[in-house]
Symmetry: C2
Subunit: 482 residues, 2 copies
Amino acid sequence: MHYKVILRILGILLMIFSFSMLPPLAISYIYNDGADFAFIAGFFITLVTGFLIWIPVYRVRQDLRTRDGFLITVLFWAVLGFFGAFPFMITEDPHLSFVDAVFESLSGLTTTGATVITGIDYLPKSILFYRQQLQWLGGMGIIVLAVAILPMLGIGGMQLYRAEIPGPVKDSKLTPRITETAKALWYIYLSLTIVCGVGYWLAGMDVFDAVSHSFSTVAIGGFSTHDASIGYFDSLTIELICVFFMVVSTVNFGLHFFAWRQRSISHYFKDPEFKFYISTLLGITLIALIVLIVTNTYEPAESLRKATFMVVSIATTSGFATADFAHWPAMLPFLLFVATFAGGCAGSTGGGMKVIRVLLILKQGYREIQRLVHPNAIIPVKLGKKPISDRVLEAVWGFFSVYMIVFVVMLVALLATGLDQVTAWSAVGATLNNLGPGLGNVSAHYGNLNEPAKWVLCFAMLLGRLEVFTLLVLFTPIFWKR
Amino acid sequence: MHYKVILRILGILLMIFSFSMLPPLAISYIYNDGADFAFIAGFFITLVTGFLIWIPVYRVRQDLRTRDGFLITVLFWAVLGFFGAFPFMITEDPHLSFVDAVFESLSGLTTTGATVITGIDYLPKSILFYRQQLQWLGGMGIIVLAVAILPMLGIGGMQLYRAEIPGPVKDSKLTPRITETAKALWYIYLSLTIVCGVGYWLAGMDVFDAVSHSFSTVAIGGFSTHDASIGYFDSLTIELICVFFMVVSTVNFGLHFFAWRQRSISHYFKDPEFKFYISTLLGITLIALIVLIVTNTYEPAESLRKATFMVVSIATTSGFATADFAHWPAMLPFLLFVATFAGGCAGSTGGGMKVIRVLLILKQGYREIQRLVHPNAIIPVKLGKKPISDRVLEAVWGFFSVYMIVFVVMLVALLATGLDQVTAWSAVGATLNNLGPGLGNVSAHYGNLNEPAKWVLCFAMLLGRLEVFTLLVLFTPIFWKR
Ligand SMILES: [K+]
Ligand SMILES: [K+]
């Protein structure tokens, strides 16, 4: 491990991150909301710490290797989550405890959107803006993580996409090509944010809300500046804009990149993951619509509106709300949660296991059945027309089972802290899948949970965002050997 | 498909099965419990139907092929479950509805042990005996199914054991070798039953209870002749005998076979599945013990006694009770249920996914993590010292994911009928894993569920017992395609 270079990167990262305290500080002055000190303090704490970490090692130059990549990636989210918590602890309102502040900060940066705060409408504007901005920055990190970094580490959905052998690139150095890719992706991300924000504003949000919600929409974050979330605006137009951008932001950014370069959209409809994703969203919306109408939960038109918004919001792992879906009838809360486990497409800001993995699991499950009938046939698993290599499939299986095992272990841990089953399983699901809202006692917020439970869920958010393996590998002896 | 031969086998099967109504009939006369007509009617209905099916095709002789094997295996349990239901419908007490009778009968034959009946202590002796006997016969079928038939169909844990390529035996005919293997296994099964029954009797049960409980113990069935289950006897000796035989009956019968032939027991401790199984049982017992003591649920000595019995009973998928574990504190109910998903060893009467599959999943999950650290290393998954072929591993993955998918789909179905989440998930888990008792509203019995829910659970019991694939394959078009 090249600890010195890692420290150098970490120092630089912190110094850069410290500047993210300045926009909220400006907001604080504009609205004169009294939270300015929190951001001044947060800025200096982060900047100085970063500087102190950086200065002893600033001359060190070494090529990074794959193994360093794991550590840097985990530290990126963990350390920023920690320093991002300062404003929440320092400000008068909300004067959060250490665990709550870290929870809120990590929830923002991982774009989970689970909150421990109630009375969001009454928070200082700057704190509100800061929460939204955390999500937006987190989303930016995720795009690069998903499209550029994880594939290099041999993890994640994108290498499935290319149907190549997973594993790091040949020379296992983190090449400067990242910068290039990252730039293009950020342009797309920024453009989406701007278009989304302008849309919100034209649809009737004030500028502050429009910017804030555009941040959390494209990041698939789900934080809002109102307790009632998107439901606060009670506007069909706003909901449709939100639905559109939630879907767009959970589609593989590689497809957007191609669309941007080639001025074409036909490739979307040739992509197996995209097709499966859209079909699933439509299918679940239809089921929800039927159940809501049959059970007289809402009028038919209202059912369509609520079903569309909530299914998209939960299935994309956004977590915005226009209805209390946790109390919808029959299997709907559970069904929407199941969709969350699939989550968004690979290479997007969405959470969950990623659609492409679920698609491959279904295909291989079906292949096993076919093999029983035709035991001697050689049946490849295909994506579109490309057969998928066994090595890639093994990675998918490995991911699926480790995801399930991690889910069960954390569920046991939460139950051990005394939570009821519905609260516990949905809390783990909502954090591991980076969704946000759960069922039971965490359907509105996570403030009432005990402290150990909150720490477990912080870990779950990190695990989910880092596609489990990136974080888990740090807990194995072989990672640290030699 | 060779339908005529299949019908011939089915006819013979029914005629043989009809004779299983005679022992309960004898019991009915001995105790003069008034249920005699139910068994006379059941006997003739089953015998005559079997005869009528058999007579038009009794001359047909054709070699069966793998595909026929699937259909016969599924029909075996489904048809016997159906005809086994007659006595429950005909008798005055309990005068069960159609769905309840089928549920009870299938629950017996699949050795699930979930019951819709309350007031078991007051049932006619013959009905009690019949229920226990259903489980014992079911267990007999399972041993042959697991050790001889499923491997031929390319399903199940036993072929993993041999670490050979799964898939049917070379010429894909169902050879008469089954008879030979079956005979040896039944000797072992019968011997275990006798020793267990004598043990119960010596420990203080009356002859009727001793025989009845020996039936359901070695079959890992869990039916009892008392509402309070094994707790009724309040005897440490009986509990220890029960624990011993629950463990023995969930160990691979192949190991017992070897022990019988070679007069040796050392091979048990060289078997990776056995070692992992025993360690897991001990580990979970220890956790349960600590939690029960720390939470002051029982006195320490009582905690040890209850923890040992209940962990073994639930983890082996037996489902006997000496305590209401569904209301044990913290994560214990959930943790015991997780163990149920692993279930017994391959080639035993236990339910669940089978220990060996879980072991291989854990090993391969860990391999995926190793591969991240050493991307170019070739790391085989080993069982003991034998590397496991990719084809076998794929079968395990396929099983695991299909099991999970089936679990989720049936859970959605149950929730759609209006059950609460805890009742629903535990009911699916308890039936799919052939455990018996669930949590929530099904912790005592299944009588209060609605009819659609009961049908779904009947299907779950069958799916679980037939290792999912055997039944699922019948629902694919390719199975029926010439
Ligand atoms: K989210
Ligand atoms: K059972």
